[in-house]
Structures are given as structure tokens and as C-alpha cells.
Symmetry: C2
Subunit: 354 residues, 2 copies
């Protein structure tokens, strides 16, 4: 007998990083910003009027798109916004990767790319990184259904130069190339200057890292006017009102406070570079980070053990039990105080494990 | 030569209802609630701390799901939440309608159903309504890939009894039957009592109408634990964090203020029934509404003319230039004051057109 279950799309659920609900933990496991959003975001909350919530939000999020246009100097028709960069990327995979050819991305990269491919039945071909974790542009020049590169890449923390990014985009005029710039504000080189030159380029960004708004879910993309129109058509065929009223306003406020943004990012970079040296002094090896996290391996002590020992001390970092990266920890850059606490816990653990 | 455009999913964009940005309009075109959300929602805003926004929200929206469980007496594992009921419905179409058989729904109903089918390549077979706009359960008993019924239906405003709903669910044990209850709080009979009896039933609801939170984008669904697990797997394969921090909190607050909810809904129903008589007195014909809107046709004056004339007077209602319903206007029930203004404008227009 037939059953409703036969008509169900069954996917292996993606398990997001831990969001422990315990108080007083040091949370360095999801690459969140250790600083609050701009004071202008607090002002938005203070002046917000809940009466307005009875109405639908602006389906075009014009206020937010307008602010993005102003800050990045990109025409409004070339900007797409969504519920975090995951929504933007998921929508882009669905919109632009429709062929029988495989989509290409590195084997070590953001772990959602293959999940979206599985969800939408998109073929993919993963390309190994070089032994030093860099990406080889040559791997992305063959026939393909699309290319996705995270730059800087995660969890490796490594940035790729714009010259190599351009090589990849140029070699793929018959595919859309998505550059996922979630971490670019912490030291990567953006592909933004290439936007006018290549109509197959889509740049995806987020408010969750450098703008301290992970909780309000805001992502965006820059592309050619034609590409953005295809994305909006798919979005409007799914849900006209994805962006809620307060996210639109908070996003705008955070964007327009350029000074606060600059200061926060600079502080995180300074902390990152300072404690990179401290960690190296403790026997950690790591590539030079262009992001707000380290990708670190200890010379002698097993990453899994360090991960568990840190957890016992209420310090959360990220560890994957995957072949190429199982010796590494991904550690978010926190405040100086948090990094001090991390280093003191690490020195205790390393002593115990010696 | 090959082109990136060949790999693009091209869909005809859905055009959402007008959201005019002019002040001092009477907006009766998108079935929004004329009253603000519960005072408890205002309190959430007042006490919210923007510092928290730097972190990701709870991917499981436990606070909101817990409140839904408490208020509706449904186990948390049987509840799904999303970015408005459009997100919930879109996700459900994607999850449950995977077969070569057509999905069935009425020809006159929520206009997004065929849009989702087109987006996901789902076949569908639309069933005409009876001449009195009621739905004939017999039409939904043949072999199919799924069934979707809006109850009360839009834009007809008519509710179907739970006995007929049960007939449809019972006849379709091999398909998922979605009952879209966006308007049920205004007088429909919910399928909720059937939830324990049928594992192929999914009930979808929204905070956008009866709970005055359209701007915060909250929808939800009740189903069997197994169905909800499939929905969550698809959701988590798309975007772990769909619900932002404030929507979770506002939704919870609105839910728990049962008194305010009851009063608001009763007030809207009273206004609806009062002005239904006034409109009938002016020559309008309409089925008995079980929703927060009228589906009204004037005996002599063309609906398109009334629509345009109202618009000139800054009163917005909805009109579709579609065969079966082109003689009808969909008019949201506003406050008594708004209905007074509507009626006085209508009487002016009808006099002019007589």
C-alpha cells in the first residue's frame, strides 16, 4: 500500500554548532563578535514602536538596501538581502546552480555547501586544498555547474588574493561564481572591485560577524542587476516578506555607524594578532588568520583532548572529527579578557597532558 | 556558446499586495489586524537588550515552541516554526509534495499555492469551487500528490466544517493534507482535534492576522512528530537560524496574553458582523465571513470601478482581474472608525455611479 512517507523529501539534518544555555561560559565556537552592535542599534530598539508590527514589513527592505547602497557604493538594483547569509546562499544555490554539471568547492570549507547541494539535488565535485590549506585556482577552471569559494575560507582562516579570485571568475563566464565573504572585514580582500567587470559574480556577505547582529539574521549579496533580478524572483516566489521590521531597521543603523564598525573590527584584529603570538609560544601552529578565528593545531597534544578539556572549563571552541582537519581547533577571537582566560586554561591543560 | 544564464532557475515573480508608503491611508488590502499587538509585546521591546544580538539565536526557537505547546496543548515535538506561514508552507510543499502525482487545491484560494508548485516543479490540479464558493470534499478524494485547503478559504472568507475536513484527511492516508488556518481564529473550526487521529495532517497557522505581528514574521505548524522531524530536517538543511531573537520573544509574549488575544479577535468579529449588515444595506452581496475580511460584490456597480474610486480616496482594498472573482472585492475588517470611513466613501461612490 502507498504511504504519505513515499512523497517526503528526506534529508540528513545539518547539526548547527552548540549554543550552550549555561551562564558564564566563554563562547569561542561560532565566530560571533565579542562586542555588542553599534549604539545606534540600541537607539533603534529604544525608539521602536511595537504598534507598527501589526503591518507587513516592506517586502523590498528598501531602507536596508538603501543603506547598503550608500555604504558600499553599489546600485540598489544590484543588492539582495536575506535572513542571514545562509538564506542568501541557499537561495543563490537554488537560483543559479541548475545544470547536470557539478558545482565546485573546496573539500575543507563552509560545511553548508554540500548540504544545500543535497537539498536541491545539485551535483558537486569537491576539490582538495593544497597541503598548506590554500586553494588552487586551477582546480576551478574545468567545466562545471557553478563555483563557490569562501574568502577568507573557513575553518582555515586563509584569504585568497583578488588576482586569484579574478582568475577563477574569468575562467567561468558560463557559470555563476559565488564568493562567500562572511569574514572579509577581518582582513580579506573583497571581490567588490570586480563587480562591474564580471556579470557572473555574486558576492555574499553577512551582518553576523563584523556587525554583531547574528541574532537579527541579516545577510546580503551584490551581483549584476540581472542576477539580482533572478534571485528576487525566486525569493518572491517563496516568501514575499523574509526580512522583519526590526532587522531592517537594526541593519540600517549598524551600517551607517561606520566609525563603530571600523573600531570594532580593528580591535578584534589587534586581539587576534596579539594572541596568535601567545598561542604560538605555547606550541600551537596556525596559518596566518585573515578572519575572526584561529585554525590552530598543537605540536604535541591531541586537538580532541584540548577541545574536551576546554569544555570542562566552560570554554567552547570548535573541533571536527574529519580526516584532513581533525588535528585542528577553530577558535573564535574574543575580547582580550576572554583570550587571557583561554590561554590560562590552555596552559593548564598542556601542562596536564605533557 | 554556453552561458551562465542557462543554469538559472527562471520563475515568474509573485507580486505581493500593495504596501503604500503614503500616510493617512485606510489600509484594508492585506488582511492585517487593525489593532496593535499585546501590551506584553511592547514590554518585550522595552526590556530587550541589543547586546544579545551579537550571538546567534536559538536554532530551535525553544521559548516560542514552548509557549505554543502551552497555549495549544500540543507536544513540542509536534510543532514547527518559521518566518511567517509562507515560510512554513513553502517548506512543507518542498518537504511533503515529492511525487509525480498532482497536488490538489481549489482554483480560488491563497494565490501562493501554485507559485510554490512552480518553484519546486510540483504538478498540481486545481479544483473549481462550487458556484456558491464552497469547496466540494469529493474533489479531493482521487489519487494525488498532496492536498492543500485554506480553511477559512481566502479570498472567499468561507469556512468548511471539521466533518468535511476530516473526510478529506481520511480519504488521503497516502498523502499529506495541509490545512492552512491563517484565518481560523476569526470564526473557523480548527482541525486541531484531528491531530492525534491522523498522522498525514499538517495544520499551518500565522501570527500575522489574529496576533497583530505581521511585521515580525512568525508562522507555525502542528503535525505528527514524524512529519515535524522531516520539516525540521529540511529547514536545518537550508538555514539553521531562521527565527531572529526578537521575533521569538515577541511571539511568545503575544501568545501568553490570552486575554488580549480573545478581546481583539472578538472586537474584530463584532465589527465584521455589524458592517456586513451596513454593506448589505448598500447593495453588496457577500458570503458569511468566518475571517477578518469580506468577499463582497455590488449588485450594480463594477468592482474594478469601486476599487479605483476607493483608491482615489486613499482607501485600499483588494481586487483581482481573474475570471471567477472579478466582480468581487476583498475588504479587510478594520476598526469601527475605518469601517465608517469606508462606508461613507462607498455611499459617495455608489451615488456617483448610479
Amino acid at each position: 500500500m502507498s504511504d504519505w512517507r513515499e512523497k517526503v523529501k528526506k534529508v540528513v539534518p545539518y547539526i548547527p554548532g552548540e549554543q550552550p544555555q549555561i551562564k558564564n561560559i566563554i563562547k569561542l565556537n561560532t565566530n560571533e563578535n565579542p562586542y555588542p552592535p553599534s549604539p545606534k542599534v540600541f537607539e533603534v530598539l529604544e525608539s521602536a514602536d511595537a504598534s507598527a508590527f501589526r503591518k507587513y514589513p516592506d517586502p523590498d527592505s528598501k531602507e536596508l538596501v538603501g543603506a547598503l547602497s550608500e555604504v558600499y557604493g553599489v546600485d540598489e538594483k544590484r543588492i539582495f538581502v536575506g535572513v542571514g547569509s545562509d538564506d542568501v546562499l541557499g537561495m543563490a544555490f537554488q537560483t543559479f546552480f541548475n545544470s547536470d554539471l557539478p558545482v565546485l568547492f573546496p573539500d575543507i570549507t563552509y560545511s553548508f555547501y554540500d548540504v544545500w547541494c543535497d537539498l536541491y539535488g545539485i551535483k558537486y565535485d569537491i576539490k582538495p586544498l593544497n597541503p598548506d590549506f590554500t586553494i588552487n585556482p586551477e582546480d576551478y577552471k574545468g567545466e562545471n555547474g557553478g563555483v563557490v569559494i569562501a574568502n577568507p575560507n573557513a575553518p582555515t582562516s586563509l584569504a585568497m588574493g583578488i588576482d586569484k579570485i579574478e582568475e577563477i571568475i574569468k575562467a567561468n563566464s558560463d557559470s555563476v561564481v559565488i564568493i562567500d565573504e562572511a569574514y572579509v572585514d577581518f582582513g580579506g580582500e573583497s571581490a567588490l572591485p570586480l563587480l562591474d567587470k564580471y556579470e557572473n559574480l555574486l558576492i555574499v556577505r553577512t551582518f553576523s560577524k563584523s556587525r554583531s547582529l547574528a541574532g537579527m539574521r541579516i545577510g546580503f549579496a551584490f551581483g549584476s542587476e540581472e542576477m539580482i533580478s533572478y534571485l528576487n524572483a525566486v525569493k518572491n516566489s517563496y516568501n514575499s516578506y523574509t526580512m522583519n521590521m526590526l532587522s531592517i531597521k537594526c541593519g540600517k543603523a549598524a551600517l551607517l555607524d561606520r566609525e563603530y564598525f571600523k573600531n570594532t573590527v580593528e580591535t578584534i584584529i589587534a586581539t587576534r594578532d596579539k594572541y596568535a603570538e601567545v598561542l604560538k609560544g605555547m606550541g600551537f601552529e596556525m596559518p596566518k588568520s585573515s578572519s575572526n578565528f584561529y585554525f590552530a593545531k598543537h605540536k604535541t597534544v591531541d586537538a580532541g583532548i584540548i577541545f574536551e578539556e576546554l569544555k570542562k572549563r566552560n570554554i567552547f571552541v570548535r573541533h571536527w572529527n574529519k580526516p584532513v582537519i581533525k588535528d585542528y581547533l577553530r577558535i573564535t577571537v574574543g575580547t582580550d579578557k576572554e583570550m587571557e582566560a583561554l590561554c590560562s586554561a590552555l596552559s593548564e591543560i598542556l601542562k596536564e597532558q605533557a
